[in-house]
């Protein structure tokens, strides 16, 4: 067991480091390894690396990591392997906030371009509060089925709001669509600063509940009997996961598949124990999105594909392969 855990962490970390290096070095301009510390021989490469590529890679990594760890936590909490960070409607809230910003051309003085992620986070927060309140009104014990159904109801409603704005819009159509397809390009360091506190708090909230998630796999009642304060823990996990999802969607748009596939792959390779699953999903989610972003900007260079398309193209076959292999081996 110990050996396997060590292998899991070391291989995941190696993949992450390699992904980061590939992410910063490949592109229209070559950036050699030495540029990391040497800013004199090739000043333009240095500025590309630190000014453009590094923040882009880090943002992709943070978004991927957030979506993956939130997905792992939501799947565990809802005991549903088909759950993902978008199940509870939080991302739809963020999308409505962001799309509304574009649609109404909202602006607040001194905030400039940050207005979009800011409204995105507000939207995510409002959606989360609404879903939780509504679920609690229906069923005070907040059963998992109630939560999932409430999330589905709110997601479809908010989705219709987005469709409505798309239908009514004229010149902003392209902007809205490209935001909805998701991207981490041209964001820069300020976006990282904006998302980082939410990521840190969200990850801590989830990580503190890793053993409780293990207990809750056996049902709320069994978890309660094991001494888990189910209601409080559930709120903490929901808050942490929603915070991560909202932050990720607000800065990058809706990037699908990461939150679903990464926890699955991690669980199949290294087991369902949340004490490791959360951290490993976090690392692997970062690697996956960094690679996907790399592909999205290089495959038809100089044009860029939406990153969500790449995550689906890479994620689906890999997922199918591993799934198939696992079933064959165990069955």
């Amino acid at each position: 067991m110990k050996k396997k855990t060590l292998l899991a962490y070391s291989s995941s970390l190696i993949i992450l480091v390699v992904s980061i290096w590939l992410g910063v070095s490949i592109g229209s301009a070559d950036v050699p390894f030495s540029t990391l510390w040497d800013n004199e021989t090739n000043p333009s490469a240095y500025s590309i690396l630190w000014g453009i590529r590094m923040p882009r890679v880090i943002l992709a990594g943070l978004v991927g990591a957030s979506l993956a760890i939130a997905g792992a936590a939501f799947q565990g909490l809802l005991k549903n392997p088909l759950a993902d960070p978008y199940t509870l409607g939080v991302s739809s809230g963020a999308s409505v906030g962001a799309v509304a910003t574009i649609f109404f051309s909202l602006s607040i003085p001194f905030l400039g371009s940050y207005i979009l992620p800011l409204y995105g986070m507000v939207g995510a927060l409002v959606a989360m509060i609404l879903v939780l309140t509504f679920a609690r009104l229906i069923d005070r014990s907040m059963k998992m089925e109630t939560l999932i159904l409430t999330g589905v109801i709110f997601s479809s409603f908010l989705g219709s709001c987005i469709s409505l704005m798309i239908a009514l819009t004229g010149e902003q159509l392209r902007e809205i669509t490209s935001w909805l397809l998701g991207s981490v390009s041209m964001r820069g360091w300020p976006y990282i600063q904006m998302i980082l506190p939410f990521v840190v708090v969200g990850v801590i909230l989830l990580w503190l509940n890793r053993r409780e998630l293990n207990a809750m796999m056996y049902g709320d009642e069994r978890a309660q009997a094991l001494g888990v304060n189910v209601k409080r823990r559930k709120y903490a996990i929901l808050a942490g996961g929603s915070m991560l999802t909202g932050a990720a969607v607000a800065v990058s748009g809706t990037i699908g598949f990461v939150g679903l596939v990464v926890p699955h792959m991690t669980r199949m390779l290294w087991g369902a124990d949340h004490r490791h699953l959360l951290t490993l999903s976090f690392i692997n989610g970062a690697s996956l999105l960094i690679i996907c972003d790399l592909v999205s900007r290089t495959i038809i260079a100089p044009a860029e594909l939406p990153i969500g398309v790449i995550t689906a193209f890479i994620g689906a076959p890999v997922f199918s392969y591993i799934f198939f292999k696992q079933r064959r081996r165990r069955g």
């Binding site: 056996y218 009642e221 309660q224 009997a225």
Partner: protein
């Protein structure tokens, strides 16, 4: 250990339970019984603290459960709910290890030696250590259930609440799991409160039974105090019959179905009897209730055919069970549906008599060999050497007898046989006193169980009178026939 006081409440506003009180001592196993929807599972959830009662208190070791923190309560008591399906696979070891949750705390909770020992012990207790690294979903239902019980045992709380722990399992797994739980109760003073669907399992394994009816306690006590025919009928609306368990001092019940009366006539006539070359046979077209001391299928049961077989004096008695079975099969009898006897007397010397009574005809068939007659009061003076000679008696009644009447009929028939021996002046050649029978006599009482129930079968009842007279007359005649044979 556990004290439940005046509990009322349930889900939402409609109370499921009303005013339930009972106590469970340490090291006891209590079964909760009751029809579907009577509040069994709700009561279990209230005891475990999953649902708050509207009235009443639950105390464990003298402390109200509300005063415990979730973790401390989990160290005192645990509940294993009915469904445990997990969406994600984990190994047996990991599943059992979850049971240690309440014993770990802190930011970086560490897995100690004590945790490891508890997990290992629980796996040994439940016999799942060989599956340690296997994934749960590849185990059978019974094995999975044992894993979950191991998880609860690893939690090391003294009170275990179970909700139908053997639901959907075959009898092998039912026995395994309940034996195992019972062992923990008896040897390690575990206290168990479990909901049961199966009344017999509850009676067999529990020290006490709590019978619920519509959320109220109907009865609480030892299985033999609670499993009463009338009471079960009242609560479950089902007629039952209670018998003793063959091995354990516990009552067991059988459902009495309310089936439509069969239109087929259940009547025994002389045509059902035939005397063949090697045996006397009785073949009916429906099963009769039989109490007998026979070679094959002795005891109480339902049988359609009887055989009284003639064997040679040199017959090898050592292998009689197997040989008799093969003989039945070779003659076209169903071994599971036949009561078989043996005699050295020629089947043609069987005496058959029938008597008309108010309830129906009674048939008596006797074969008598008295070469080894014995006075039972002097038999202790004899050796145990096997001798030839036996009296086989069949009493077949067109009527319905109670169990009591069956036993009384056997007594009546036996007494009557002894009287016949006395009348014929058959002597025990060793003690030189009047014989009472032979060492190998067999008796069979069979009844069609049709018609009015006869509660008693003693000498002054009508059935007793006819048995007394019939067995006497038939036996006297059979002895006389036997003697004639001797002369010839």
């Amino acid at each position: 250990m556990l004290e439940v006081q005046n509990i009322s409440g349930g889900y939402g506003s409609t109370p499921v339970l009303s005013n339930i009180s009972f106590q469970v001592a340490k090291g006891k196993m209590v079964g909760i019984l009751g029809p579907n929807g009577c509040g069994k599972s709700t009561l279990l959830k209230v005891i475990s603290g999953l649902i708050n009662p509207t009235f009443g208190t639950i105390t464990i070791d003298g402390v109200d459960i509300k005063k415990y923190s979730a973790r401390d309560l989990a160290k005192k008591m645990t509940i294993l709910p009915q469904l445990h399906a997990t969406a994600f696979s984990s190994t047996v070891y990991d599943t059992v290890a979850i049971g240690r949750y309440p014993h770990q705390s802190g930011f970086f909770s560490t897995w100690g030696d004590e945790d490891e020992r508890a997990v290992k012990k629980a796996m040994v207790q439940t016999g799942i250590e060989k599956y340690e690294n296997q994934y749960l979903e590849y185990l059978s239902g019974g094995e999975q259930q044992r894993v979950f019980i191991a998880q609860a045992l690893a939690q090391a709380s003294n009170l275990l609440l179970l909700d139908e722990p053997t639901n959907h399992l075959d009898i092998a797994h039912q026995r395994q799991i309940l034996d195992m739980i019972r062992k923990e109760v008896t040897e390690n003073q575990l206290t168990v409160v479990s909901v049961f669907h199966d009344i017999n399992l509850a009676a067999l394994y529990c020290d006490e039974i709590l019978l619920l009816e519509s959320g109220k306690v109907k009865n609480y006590g030892a299985p033999h105090e609670v499993l009463l025919e009338e009471q079960i009928k009242e609560v479950y609306h089902t007629r039952i019959s209670i018998q003793a368990h063959p091995e354990q001092p516990k009552p067991q019940m059988t459902i009495l179905p309310d089936l439509p009366e069969q239109t087929e006539e259940k009547l025994i006539t002389t045509n059902h009897f035939k005397i063949q070359e090697e045996y006397v046979e009785f073949k009916s077209h429906f099963p009769l209730r039989v109490l007998s001391s026979a070679v094959h299928n002795a005891g109480m049961g339902w049988y359609t055919t009887f055989m009284n077989r003639t064997v040679k004096p040199e017959y090898d008695i050592d292998n009689v069970k197997e040989e008799y079975l093969q003989y039945l099969v070779s003659k076209g009898f169903s071994p599971t549906n036949t009561v078989g006897m043996m005699t050295a007397v020629d089947s043609k010397r069987a005496v058959m008599k029938n008597y008309e009574t108010s309830f129906g005809k009674v048939f008596i068939v006797v074969t008598a060999g008295v070469g080894n007659a014995i006075d039972v009061s002097k038999s202790y003076k004899r050796d145990n050497f096997f001798h030839i000679g036996t009296i086989n008696t069949w009493v077949i009644i067109n009527g319905k007898l109670s169990d009591e009447a069956f036993v009384q009929a056997m007594m009546t028939a036996t007494e009557s046989k002894s009287k016949a021996l006395q009348h014929e002046k058959i002597y025990d050649l060793y003690s030189n006193t009047i014989a009472t029978g032979t060492p190998t006599d067999s008796l069979l009482i069979a009844a069609t169980q049709n018609g009015k129930l006869m509660q008693y079968g003693g000498p002054i009842t009508e059935v007793g009178q006819v048995i007394g007279r019939g067995v006497f007359e038939a036996t006297v005649e059979a002895i006389q026939t036997y003697r004639k044979g001797d002369i010839i």
